[in-house]
């Protein structure tokens, strides 16, 4: 046993000696692994963090509330107003105080306080995790401050300790809980907190439930009590985990693509080192090392590399995730109203997944080729075909493999019914394209060689050199193709979306002013408006639960110009009935069509109180960015069926007089609106597009990073090519080839390879964008839009590729130039 172990270690040390002798190859191998794992793990860390945040959000006080009462001015809700509301009988309202505090040693903590005695029993249970009455010490002097275990550890607190603030005041004695009910926050009784912090205002009030028309009554009571108070619907009540699932799947798919691009660098480094290592493996076998022992040593080497790659990748990935988190948080906030905090933790499962992924990648890229090499008989190795013939065969095999992948993709496409399947089709198409690339480049180079006249012998030589370089260049070109395709595809998607959204907003936001106010008396405003008003559109609505999702009911005025111009994505010949105010027909958003599966002409049952009412679906409309289902009904119909439906905004068309805006604003104030309750059309448009751009910032960031990894792959390849071709370059120099001729012959193949790669990325990227827009977008979000093809992203990517290629070629050319004198001295020596 000891003897076998010693032999195994000896063989392993012999195998690892390669890395000592070829540090650059090892550096690139690890760079590929680390960057690939880093991008993947960054997204994993963010996804895991987001899921943890959603779970945590469900446990935080008030998360399940239907509404909040907040102050318009931002100064909070006074304790007197809260007490008055309770006295008026609003028993489902309870207070929250939230504040960031700095401790004496400059740590920042978040404090949340409530009145446990005012809480409904189930809320008190959620807040404390204790049965009723288990919290008497919290509410009676000297009170307690409750800490989640993680936070107590961070602050170095134990039960009974008092945390001192930088103001010199101390929090009540600590009690440490293993459950983290309030996230990483300190929980206190509200009376104790108000006294300690010397505050007279609460942060906001939480409203546990508002049955029937209670919301409308509470709004009126709030307006009467204090016009500064507003009733706000709780957007976070949506099922965040379900709603955000597709976004996280998309992020995970993009990060896997980055990992694949990183693996190309590993493939490249291993392939380059294989010829050098072949001799070691042959020698070891000639010395009597068994295949089993070799396999063990290769497995151990893979293990060592996977550990280094995982740790390095996770370290870099953690840093990256902190850079990406604000973008992801913005996306989630904009799309779903979900709030993420900015503290990231790497979970053990992420480490394990990263290691498994790295190991799988290494088995594919490192262990398998080495093992195959070790398995070949010594006779096989002597009869081995030339490197060029091997490359030619590899290209053919890759092209055939691509054909199989493309056929698989086609077969799967016709059965597409889930996001995961959609991404599988995308991956198959991308890899089919990548596999076809070397064969295509070779075909073009050979075609050029045949077509060029004898006088263009330098170009002919360059094409030949291109074929010689292709074996090493191919992995980098394939990686670049993946990056270019992903960039072009996603850019096209974003451009299409932006254009569609912009057009849609222009149509939807036809009015000059949009008013959203709790205090505005709309009837008074519209009773005698004056000639500044050309047209108005009043909307009402509410949210109900339909098909297990939040579903918005919106009442529209069917006579206004914006409603009349509403473009429908699909309609029946009865759609005009809706515009004529037919009370039994409904328009639905595309989300209801694609995600809930309703069809034109179908009858849907919409809940009204304890009953349901049937409506015939006569049309579908675009509703970009809405995670909820939505139905349009005539205003009066909504008011009849749901008397408690709230006002959902008012659109005002002004005449073209210079003073129209001023007069409108004066009329609005006179009717009870407050400054800030209305927004001009241009501002709404600008805000919407700004939100859109923020939402897609993260996609752009991941794409840019994938492109960077592809750039590293290209550099690794070019350095490898110039290292491999150095004896040939030395011989060219011995024939008197000038620097200019060398640049042409060695550099032109790269240019041709890049050009073909870029050209191929355009149809592939278009296909990718088409699949994303017409299939995956529909499956993920439930809305459609036309693909708007533009050349601009391709042009930008061309210049970017040229820049990266120019830079990497310059580095590798300088490296080759520096090594040339040495190579010239070794001319004539056996290349092996």
């Amino acid at each position: 046993m000891t003897g076998t172990l010693t032999r195994l270690l000896r063989v392993l040390i012999t195998l690892l000696s390669h890395h000592r002798r070829h540090p650059l190859q090892t550096l690139f191998l690890l760079t590929g692994l680390v960057t690939g794992v880093a991008l993947w793990s960054a997204v994993q860390v963010i996804n895991a963090h987001a899921r943890a945040s959603y779970a945590e959000a469900d446990q935080v006080l008030g998360a399940q509330a239907s509404h909040w009462v907040r102050s318009g001015s931002g100064e909070g809700v006074s304790v007197d107003d809260y007490v008055n509301l309770r006295r008026q009988g609003w028993r489902s309202v309870f207070p929250i105080l939230e504040q960031r505090l700095t401790t004496a040693d400059q740590s920042v903590i978040n404090l949340i306080a409530t009145d446990l005695l005012a809480l409904p029993d189930e809320e008190a249970g959620t807040a404390t995790g204790l049965p009723a009455g288990g919290w008497m010490q919290l509410v009676t002097p000297p009170h307690e401050a409750w800490y989640p275990e993680t936070l107590a550890q961070q602050l170095g607190l134990e039960d009974g300790d008092r945390l001192t603030l930088n103001s010199g005041k101390a929090l009540p004695p600590a009690r440490v809980f293993s459950r983290e009910q309030q996230g990483l926050r300190v929980f206190m009784d509200i009376g104790a907190a108000l006294t300690l912090l010397d505050r007279s205002h609460l942060s906001y009030l939480v409203v546990a439930e508002l049955p029937g028309d209670a919301a409308a009554r509470l709004s009126r009571d709030l307006a009467a009590l204090n016009p500064d108070l507003r009733l706000v619907a709780n957007q976070q009540r949506l099922d965040l985990t379900e709603l955000t699932q597709s976004l996280h799947t998309q992020l995970a798919a993009m990060s896997l693509l980055s990992f694949a691009v990183g693996l190309f660098i590993v493939f490249n480094a291993v392939r380059f080192s294989l010829s050098a290592r072949r001799h070691t493996l042959t020698t070891l076998r000639e010395l009597g090392v068994s295949q089993r022992l070799l396999l063990g040593a290769i497995a151990l080497e893979t293990l060592v590399m996977s550990i280094i790659g995982t740790l390095g990748g996770l370290g870099l990935g953690y840093g990256l995730s902190q850079l990406l988190l604000p973008s992801v948080a913005a996306t989630l906030q904009n799309l779903y109203g979900a709030v993420l905090d900015y503290t990231l933790l790497v979970q053990p499962v992420t480490v394990l997944q990263a290691w498994l992924l790295t190991s799988a990648g290494l088995v594919l890229a490192l262990a398998w080729p080495l093992w195959r090499q070790a398995q070949r008989s010594l006779q096989d190795q002597r009869d081995e075909p030339s490197q060029w013939q091997q490359d030619q065969r590899a290209r053919r095999r890759l092209a055939l493999g691509s054909l199989v992948l493309a056929l698989l993709a086609l077969g799967l496409y016709f059965q597409l019914n889930s996001i995961a399947m959609g991404f599988t089709v995308l991956a198959l198409i991308l890899f089919a394209g990548a596999g076809l690339l070397p064969w295509t480049v070779a075909l073009i180079l050979r075609g050029l060689q045949r077509a060029l006249p004898a006088s263009a012998w330098r170009l002919n030589w360059a094409c030949g050199e291109g074929l010689a370089q292709l074996g090493t260049l191919r992995t980098a070109l394939m990686a670049l193709l993946l990056a270019l395709t992903a960039n072009f595809g996603v850019d096209s998607l974003v451009d299409s979306f932006r254009t569609s959204l912009s057009d849609w907003l222009q149509q939807r936001l036809a009015a000059d002013l949009f008013v959203q106010s709790d205090t505005l008396d709309i009837d008074a405003l519209l009773a005698n408006p004056g000639d500044w008003l050309v047209e108005s559109h009043r909307r009402n609505g509410l949210t109900v639960r339909w098909e297990n999702r939040p579903t918005q009911i919106r009442g529209l005025n069917t006579d206004t110009s914006d409603t009349r111009a509403l473009p429908l994505a699909a309609e029946t010949d009865r759609s005009s009935a809706w515009f004529d105010g037919d009370p039994d027909v409904v328009l639905a958003n595309e989300q209801a069509r694609y995600l809930a599966g309703i069809e034109l002409g179908e009858t849907v049952q919409i809940p009204v109180g304890q009953q349901t009412v049937a409506f015939e679906v006569v049309g579908f409309y675009h509703d970009y960015g809405n995670p909820a289902y939505q139905f349009y009904l005539p205003y009066q119909r909504v008011a009849e069926l749901w008397p408690n439906a709230g006002e959902q905004g008012l659109g005002l068309w002004l005449n073209d007089h210079d003073d129209a805006l001023a007069r409108a604003e004066a009329a609005l104030v006179a009717a009870g609106a407050r400054p800030g309750d209305w927004t001009r059309r241009e501002d709404v448009l600008a805000i919407s597009l700004r939100v859109f751009d923020r939402t897609f910032a993260m996609t752009a960031a991941i794409n840019a990073l994938t492109f960077t990894v592809a750039g590293i792959a290209l550099l690794a390849s070019l350095l490898a090519i110039h290292q491999q071709r150095l004896p040939s370059y030395a011989h060219w120099r011995s024939m008197g080839v000038s620097n200019r001729e060398w640049l042409l012959i060695a550099g032109l193949p790269l240019g041709i390879g890049l050009l073909v790669t870029w050209l191929l990325s355009i149809p592939l990227g278009t296909l990718l964008a088409g699949l994303l827009i017409y299939d995956l977008n529909v499956l993920s979000f439930g809305w459609t839009m036309p693909l708007i093809w533009q050349f601009e992203p391709a042009r930008s990517l061309f210049w970017l590729t040229l820049l990266v290629a120019g830079f990497t070629f310059a580095i590798s050319a300088v490296q080759a130039r520096l090594k040339l004198p040495q190579a010239l001295k070794h001319l004539g020596e056996d290349a092996a």
């Binding site: 075909p385 030339s386 490197q387 060029w388 013939q389 012998w457 002919n460 030589w461 094409c463 030949g464 050199e465 291109g466 074929l467 010689a468 004896p727 040939s728 030395a730 011989h731 120099r733 011995s734 024939m735 008197g736 080839v737 000038s738 001729e741 010239l824 001295k825 001319l827 004539g828 020596e829 056996d830 290349a831």
Partner: protein
């Protein structure tokens, strides 16, 4: 054609400097051929590289085709190699993705001295007529070396430098390749300096020189004590 005057060359090694040439002198007249013999590591290839300008001497002077190494820039060396010299190595160094025809025309095209009639003559003399459209990997070792020889001679160089040109070939093929190389060099009027460790291959050439302890010594015929012809 080629003159070496007191050429010195050292190499730095971990255990101190090694002198491979310590004032070596040598003269090869135009149209003559010489073999350079010596033990492994004696500096034969280094000397050949100095003559080709691929390496630089620490002292002394080389005069090649009337050009002194003391006054030549890197560009001058490059032009000299392209137009007036040619090198033949053990590994052939054919471009694997160019046809035999393109490979053998390469240096003549670089020096813009491609003579189609002479090309056809060389192809014929070297027995390559049926192979011109093939790629290098489709040829045997001997055939590849014949292509390398044709490439080296097609631009009619003044001096051919060969480093173990038959090192990779079997004895019978080596003799055939050597025979045709010497014949063609004579035919083109070029001079030939060839490094070899084989006394038999050296016997094909006009002169034999041995590099020993950093000095060049002409070998004499072992039977009559005269310099070998």
């Amino acid at each position: 054609m080629l003159r070496l005057n007191q050429v010195v060359k050292h190499f730095a090694q971990p255990d101190g400097d090694v002198t491979v040439l310590s004032g070596a002198s040598f003269h090869l007249p135009a149209g003559r051929s010489a073999a350079l013999l010596g033990e492994s590591g004696s500096g034969k290839s280094t000397l050949l590289h100095l003559v080709a300008g691929l390496d630089t001497p620490d002292a002394g002077e080389l005069v090649i085709d009337g050009h002194s190494s003391l006054s030549m820039s890197a560009g001058d060396w490059n032009r000299l190699r392209r137009d007036r010299l040619s090198l033949i190595f053990q590994q052939y160094h054919l471009v694997p993705t160019l046809t035999v025809l393109d490979n053998l025309q390469l240096q003549a095209r670089l020096s813009q001295r491609l003579d189609p009639a002479f090309r056809d003559h060389l192809i014929d003399r070297l027995g390559l007529a049926d192979l011109t459209r093939r790629l290098p990997h489709q040829l045997s070792g001997g055939q590849q070396q014949r292509v390398a020889i044709a490439r080296a001679l097609l631009h009619r160089p003044a001096l051919v430098l060969a480093d173990e040109p038959t090192g990779n070939l079997d004895e019978a093929t080596s003799e055939r390749v050597m025979g045709v190389l010497v014949e063609l060099v004579r035919e083109t009027g070029s001079s030939l300096l060839m490094v070899t460790h084989s006394a038999h291959m050296a016997s094909f050439l006009d002169e034999q020189w041995r590099l020993q302890h950093g000095q060049l010594h002409q070998q004499h015929d072992q039977y009559n004590g005269e310099p070998a012809l």
